[in-house]
């Protein structure tokens, strides 16, 4: 039986203090969650609910967990990636009233799943996932809990993709909000969050610059667009690889080079995968690459770069730098892999995950979705649901208000005009 993190770590006092400081910093820059806290504290919308969470446990997520607890929920949380947990934040979160945290960094697979089970044993009525591991575990191993679950939220592109596949197979047994698919999430978190934090993490892990570099971005979805845009904004020459012709064309019309990976491999200085798929960079690509290239992944799972194949090709492997593993080829070329091919904005030693403000938006949507499930969960059938537009819009309005940004509203004449069709030229 897994115990909460506080029971397991050395010097929990110091960790708690360090974690609290991190949370305080995040809270300062999360005006949406702060605004919702005022509302939830008064309304206690989550009284009697148990929220099970499997997310990257660091300061920003902690503010979401805390927010749900402040609103009356019993919260049990664990990590969704063994390398992304900040132990100090986990301990600080474990000390928040109403929250139990099981997340611990660098645990082995067994301990990782044991922690997830510990969360499930709280018998959650609502699940909040980042990669759908919790949903999957409940469906596979705890089907008896499903009846009492109101619904859940899923944060990532990849998770939503897998949930939709599960739903198509008729296997998804409770309603899930596809938080990833909201405008608020996709446009800000994916584009700005993944883009900026991936590049900053790579720069600060390697001490290399972007200017004049050829950066190959694999995939031109929202994450890929963000990475490409921000890399271009640092004066990199961007090459995009894609499998979908509209996206390929969109990248081409943006002014980027679009190439098959086979050709891009020989041109790139830095490779960043964002596809959500596997085997995006494989043996034939490694063989074409120049000495000294960087390989990083910004997609959810660590399967985009085929590290097994790279290991097989290499005559030597060593840590070139904290967070950088060098694979030396027989011909002397060194291919440098960051963060073991895991999420580069989360898993390098200096990585901090998504920027605070974009997570504030994302978690604001999560929070109002949990509120929606509590208030109207019974109206949603089992399956994947888009976040209702009014909730997404509500969060945008809270954010604009917090930023002091005013905008126009339609006059009556304009409302009427937009609804009419009888006008001539």
């Amino acid at each position: 039986m897994t115990e909460p993190i506080t029971e397991r770590v050395d010097d929990p006092e110091a960790k708690r203090e360090s974690g609290r400081r991190k949370m305080e910093w995040a809270r300062q820059h999360m005006p949406i969650c702060e605004s919702l806290r005022t509302e939830f504290e008064a309304d206690q919308p989550f009284a009697d609910e148990v929220v099970g969470m499997a997310m990257h446990v660091e300061a920003k997520t902690a503010i979401l967990a805390e927010l749900l607890a402040v609103g009356g929920a019993e919260v049990a949380i664990t990590g969704c990636n063994p390398l992304s947990t900040h132990d100090d934040v986990s301990v600080a979160l474990d000390a928040v009233e109403g929250v139990t945290s099981y997340a611990e960094r660098e645990v082995d697979d067994e301990a990782y799943y044991a922690a997830m089970e510990a969360v499930i044993e709280h018998e959650p009525t609502i699940t909040v996932d980042d990669g759908m591991d919790l949903v999957a575990a409940i469906h596979e191993d705890y089907p008896e809990l499903i009846d009492s679950i109101v619904g859940g939220c899923e944060e990532t592109t990849t998770g939503v993709h897998r949930l939709r596949a599960m739903d198509d197979d008729g296997e998804l047994a409770y309603p899930m909000f596809a938080v990833n698919d909201t405008p608020m999430k996709r446009l800000f978190d994916n584009v700005h969050g993944t883009g900026e934090s991936s590049l900053a993490s790579i720069a600060m892990t390697t001490n290399l610059s972007w200017a004049g570099k050829t950066v190959v971005v694999a995939g031109y979805g929202h994450c890929g667009k963000g990475v490409a845009k921000k890399a271009s904004g640092q004066n990199a020459d961007v090459v995009v690889t894609e499998v979908e012709p509209r996206r390929a064309l969109e990248a081409h019309m943006e002014g980027y080079d679009v190439l098959p990976m086979e050709e891009a491999a020989a041109e790139g200085d830095v490779f960043i995968t964002t596809t959500g798929n596997r085997d995006v960079i494989v043996s034939e690509h490694f063989e074409a690459m120049d000495d000294g290239v960087l390989l990083a992944n910004a997609g959810h799972f660590d399967v985009e770069i085929d590290l097994d194949a790279l290991s097989e090709l290499a005559v030597d492997e060593y840590e070139a730098r904290d967070g950088v593993q060098a694979y030396e080829m027989a011909d002397g070329r060194r291919l440098n892999v960051l963060a073991e091919g895991r999420l580069v904005n989360l898993a390098t030693p200096v990585a901090l995950g998504h920027p605070v403000e974009v997570m504030d938006q994302s978690f604001g949507v999560q929070a109002v979705c949990v509120r929606e499930l509590v208030e109207s969960g019974e109206e949603y059938e089992a399956g994947v649901h888009d976040v209702p537009d009014r909730l997404d819009r509500e969060v945008a309005e809270i954010k604009l208000d917090a930023e002091g940004v005013a905008f126009d509203s339609l006059t009556e004449t304009q409302e009427e005009y937009m609804g009419s069709w009888q006008h001539g030229t």
Copy 2:
């Protein structure tokens, strides 16, 4: 009874030659339509069909009309805006086998509608619209034709908006493809086409520059995004006005200032409306503006800038320059309106409409939609329909092929991975 343009103009011979040269230039840069022409010439998909068109009659549209005729259709065409017709192209088009053109520049309202009636009297089986005037006229005045109409296509945001309103009212009596809403149309035509051509038209009408100018973009839909992005790319300082909070936030996160028009009015050097709505710039805004500002519209109708109100405020009005009307206020300020508030990329003296290549994409979608209606029209119910994804994708592939851009395809393992959900971390 309206006659074809050729019967009505002076020196049709010279106009035809001039129009043909324009069409030849367009054809050189429309590889998608050229690729489809090869297919249609062989297959004759439109034999026995009559296509009625109401579009901006200039060289690029002429290539679409010609393409449909080459594929076997009888084509009757008129303009969708009295200022956007190029008479020479209209004459050249009228000479194409299978095409009759009624479009003429600067006709009065009566002649404009008479030309539309002339098109309708061809008894079209398919309609192709840019602003839904043809659909509206048929529904209002020629309901007896509806039974024999297979369906139609609508090109613009505004037209689709009005069609959806009509559909919601249960008034739309045949299937219409919302060509405007395809990724191919919205992303390329609206963003790149409207953006680039509006700015180039303003620059070449005024001889003014963008660097250091404050450009107020009203509306942050696809057109507004394009105008903002391209203006920023010319070193303008962009201000966005919006009524939808997610769009307002998106503009803010892009780095633009977001302001209510009331405040923006006092800051702007150039104002460009892209909302598709009316009364976007009105008296209170005119009163706040600086001397010498430019006012231009890139939305479909000329109702976004309230020119009647401006006229009332003005103590003098005069043509400051071809395509620029100056309104002088009592306090000496001069507000310069381009193209009478009509589409600035179509209606100034030097304007050429959307760039050839983006219209090639847009018209490629139109052409395959017409083909779809002929092949499977009966499968579509009356109402607005999204363009089937496979058609849009087909056009993207033709374009990439023509540009020599290669892209990747999914391996079997990848296809399978994308469809699965049982994978762990």
Copy 3:
């Protein structure tokens, strides 16, 4: 003996009215010249001076000529390029008190030089040049005038380059201000002016778009940087060719591809030369180009693209469009040359030259340089002189003031700190 333009053209009345309207528009957007006009009108600094000018005679230059005349000078002006004169402006200028204009569009070489001689026969005491033709003609054919010439100003990179060569040869007999080399001129006129106006002129001459195009920019000096930056800002993929390694590296670090022209020729969709040198694009390059490419020049002279060689390669030549000459190769490829290889922002049918505001800055510097020559000309030796920093700074301050832009000034402590060196870490 050449007569003023007014004596030579049809319907001078109408031309004068049209030219005046153009000048009025320019004046509205030239706040620096307007500010100086107030000063010059009061001070009459140019009384007793004769200013000879050889410049592109269009509305903006007319404001400079008028400004000098308002300040008391007798002004005689002709064109510096047979294709860039606007006859209506020339006539309107000729009607300004104190100004005689000889400039006429599309005159032959003989008439062009006769007009220049007519200017020289006014016995200028100050010369204002755009390409140093006036300086050269005086030195070669009217050496007797040199003694009474106080000095002159040269506007262009190319002109200054040639003046420096002349100076190095000990042949330059009076002081010349290298207006081109001031920060105000190089950074704004070259970068923003040439960049924006060249691209807008190409777009509006061809109706083609920039998004996704490969644009080859030959030369990465100030003009080349402007063209590259603005093309990139319209989503073109920019390739730079250079002969100087630091500039080549600068372009590379900006994120552009840098290639020898031999390779760039095969990749480009549009080629824009900005080198100030000759034979930048020659036979071997034409042979490597794709069908449908555009060739344009933004450098001073029409020698950058070797049109003779292109003519020899071509099996057919025809006007594909106003301002576009198509050269058809034996293999069917069509290479489209804009404006006969002359300045593309001046010499296409729709071209308007540099934007008004940037010329305002450039001409503001010209005007204060002429004032400087009158006030202190005897202090300058024969040869090329940089514009004194204080004059350039004066113009910047006038401009900022006109734009309503405030900036900081150094405190005494800061002044002292900047001048000291005894401070520790």
Copy 4:
């Protein structure tokens, strides 16, 4: 008497290994220095020379020190900023044959100057400075050494500024190369190096994002331009403050807001100083700032933000986060200062200094300047000298060659054309 770092630190073995790994990584990405190493190893240009260095002692600088030693010099080095030394690199460098390193992190003032004296006691014949502390110390305290000093190099804007002031006072007693002023240094190091590394350091110290933030950049010199450009490339809204009107105008024409700091203070979310001056942000500005703002300095000295004044205004001060000191105002506003107002790209806990590649360029220029001093030092008089153009150009060519970037060269006809001036229009 100060001993080398190795004698002073704990566990030098482990530090040496860690330092070597860092140097190896840097070397992999410093192709210019690697190319020069081959040359110097063969030629031994520095035999019999003693090079005294005071620079930021981290991996990249270590490569320069090593390169000079490989070329035959005796090298003695210390830090130029108590917070920028990496002890492990200092130890690894101390182990390089021919190098003695005295640099140690976080020493007090006394130890800092003692280390500088230790370097001077090696009796350098050449000095390499980053902030001119070594030059100043020698002139003030060791004038007897000056006769045997061939010359020196200075890396920074600020150092060169102070050297010029010293030179103007007639106090500079040996020749100094103003490495900072070369195109290679200013354009790449300042623009790309300072820009990218400052932003990445701020992002990774705070976990905040740039999108939608208002970033106030104080100073629009090369560093300020880099910071502004890169911030804009991350979708920040940039505000520039300046004291020089041409620079202010340049920023305005780039599309940025230009404001006096007094107004900017109320608008900014992040403030980055790059002026090289003192008291850029002072009490009146702190009082106008919003809660939660970030304050960072990217100029050489820590005097740009007046921290004494801030301390006086604050009712509380605490470490909000590693590298972030919060100053709490009486009204509850928290102003967050990064890295104690020292160089933010060097002095935060995660900071790594300039990117490797830009330092490679900068140090390549340093290395060839030292070679120039040895070869032709006697030809240079005492005073500040620009780096000879041929040296700067040599380094650019080495770099382009290493990057595989080819460029054109002038033909004989072109050379001749550029030198001639007799050509007509």
